[in-house]
Symmetry: C3
Subunit: 120 residues, 3 copies
């Protein structure tokens, strides 16, 4: 059972990337990360997004894979960690052969650490 | 590793059902879904529940399986996605051969989307 | 698929321990549990911690394993269930052969149930 627990944790953690990893890479320049806001909501409901994110709603993702770049690493985020939209988007990206992670803590965690956002 | 990540996401996501799926099915009539409120709390603490939910506390679930209907699909929910009560209840139901999901986002997510609740 | 769902839930749930299990064991005396606060934050940011917890930041954990006691069972917690720091710490402890769990609901859940905390 201990091995199963360790394997589950390893695989689960490999799905996620920490906000500071993304932010520090962006500050250093030439970052491989593209942040995708996959919330299924119009801009007036979203109000803000992570600074520099691209909006691509999870419900539209499968139809727009051709516009993505396989040399990049996609970091998807949703409202908070209680939703499954980010994981659904991540599954679509991984199944299509993209390098991708879900942002640990989602938008709520990013804002909780006072990291940069912008109006949408 | 990519295959393990994809398999984990697929299996994990198969445990959950989105609030809108349940709600739209109920509005269309003849819904297979029965929503179970599995919070281990008395009514004055719970105050409200999802509209039309049946209260069956996770701690009592194993003793009341005989009252459930195998032709239905049970949707369990707890306070929020940070607790494990919903997953414990889901495991009991799946092991007993019931069709069941955990409600993505739990009660907190349901209320965050202003979906219908009722006093208890 | 049902078997995979059940196995995932079993393994996932085996990573967690409920707050009341820890608290009741501590009240009964001679508890095997040692609560580790693994938040990577200085005391002024943390402000409070779970009563009786030991502070050992996740970022420092790998370098301090020699100070831990294999006869104990470690219960790690982070700010809330939306972060992955607790799971990262849990993985380090399990891989090093310690008995360990993550606290279900994290600090946020503990405080939400009005369980005892102390200033740091």
């Amino acid at each position: 059972m201990e091995n199963e627990k360790i394997e589950l944790l390893k695989t689960y953690l490999s799905l996620y990337i920490n906000p500071m990893t993304v932010l520090q890479s962006q500050k250093a320049g030439d970052s491989p990360y593209v942040i995708l806001d996959v919330r299924n909501a119009p801009a007036p409901v979203k109000k803000v997004q992570i600074k520099g994110a691209q909006a691509l709603a999870a419900k539209d993702l499968a139809d727009h894979l051709g516009e993505l770049d396989k040399s990049k690493t996609y970091v998807v985020y949703d409202w908070n960690s209680g939703t499954i939209l980010g994981q659904q988007a991540l599954l679509i990206l991984l199944q299509a052969g993209f390098k991708a992670f879900e942002l640990a803590g989602a938008l709520e965690g990013w804002q909780g650490m006072n990291l940069p956002v912008e109006n949408v």
